[in-house]
């Protein structure tokens, strides 16, 4: 399907692709050695009070179905290779969010020997959410920041859409959510 389309068509297709990727990010959760404080906060974001499904986020079981890998914990030596293996199995385009101070920088376990430290020593990380554990709202804030960063950067010609500040972009990315709820 790599036929070369004329400029306008290609741009529209690209816009539709990004729109779809922003509005239906399926997440896969992997705990690489965390004390499960962050993991219960991640599951809490899916329950009625925070309900991530209003952003189109669904918790998936298999790496094949997932777009965003949410990783917690300071990557113990035993789960280091499994983390790499899971990351390789996910289809492109994929993103990684490191949740919790342990995933961002070995948080409360600097002195422990069986710990690699932080997730981005093992796989490339796109967004960090420190906190021990971060509140569910902070996790949602991190994911929204990641999603808005996928928005195509405002092209040189300003007439398509003006440069948006992240907060405004966050509102616009999920703006339909407002009226439909």
């Amino acid at each position: 399907m790599s036929v070369q389309m004329s400029g306008m068509w290609a741009e529209v297709l690209e816009k539709v692709k990004t729109w779809a990727r922003i509005n239906s990010p399926w997440i896969l959760h992997y705990n690489s050695g965390s004390c499960n404080g962050c993991d219960i906060e991640i599951v809490a974001t899916i329950t009625p009070r925070y309900d991530l499904e209003r952003f189109g986020i669904k918790l998936q079981g298999s790496p094949r179905h997932a777009d965003v890998l949410i990783c917690t914990g300071p990557v113990t030596l035993q789960s280091r290779d499994r983390l790499k293996r899971i990351y390789e199995q996910m289809p492109d385009p994929k993103f990684v969010v490191a949740v919790g101070s342990c995933a961002t920088s070995s948080g409360a376990f600097p002195g422990c020997y069986n710990v690699v430290g932080h997730v981005d020593e093992v796989i490339p990380v796109n967004a960090y959410i420190p906190g021990c554990p971060p509140r569910p709202e902070a996790i949602i804030d991190g994911i929204v920041k990641l999603l808005t960063s996928l928005q195509p950067p405002a092209p040189a010609t300003a007439e398509t859409h003006d440069a948006q500040s992240p907060a405004q972009a966050a509102a616009e990315a999920a703006t339909n959510e407002g009226e439909s709820a």
């Binding site: 009070r49 070995s106 409360a108 600097p110 967004a127 960090y128 971060p134 509102a171």
Partner: protein, 139 residues
């Protein structure tokens, strides 16, 4: 269970629409650490008691009690032991700053102190460097 699902069908959803409605965290909430340079006497008790090596005190002028506190927000475990250990009460945890998420690692190092000192520190030390403690592999 049938009564349950139909009663919740007609009730308003309990979902809190976070990015659009932002509820304040309770008064007691332990958010980001805030340091007040005026009261600090450089005793470093907070650095000794921190379980995550998240605080570094860089002294510019001992006698005039001029310090710059380098706070690693990503290492901090928000346990507020430093607030408990500090005898001159110059540390407190802001209950309204709890959205530290960011896309790059370098937003997490916060330098507290007056601007002149911080500028002086930055060009002297350059990018934030971790205190090479024995237990922690340096960044």
């Amino acid at each position: 269970m049938l009564v349950d699902i139909w009663s919740s069908f007609f009730k308003k959803p309990v979902t809190q629409r976070y990015p659009f409605e932002r509820l304040e965290a309770p008064e007691q909430f332990r958010g980001r650490l805030v340091w007040d340079p005026s009261k600090c006497n450089g005793c470093c008790l907070c650095i000794k008691d921190c379980p995550a090596n998240a605080l570094e005190l860089i002294t510019i002028d001992k006698k005039a009690k001029q310090f710059v506190m380098r706070y690693h927000a990503d290492r901090c475990t928000y346990c507020s032991q430093c607030v408990q250990s500090c005898r001159s009460e110059c540390l407190r945890m802001a209950h309204d700053q709890w959205e530290p998420a960011s896309l790059s690692r370098h937003d997490f190092v916060v330098d507290y102190g007056n601007e002149a000192d911080i500028a002086h520190i930055l060009e002297k030390y350059g990018t934030p460097s971790a205190r090479a403690t024995a237990a922690k592999t340096s960044e």
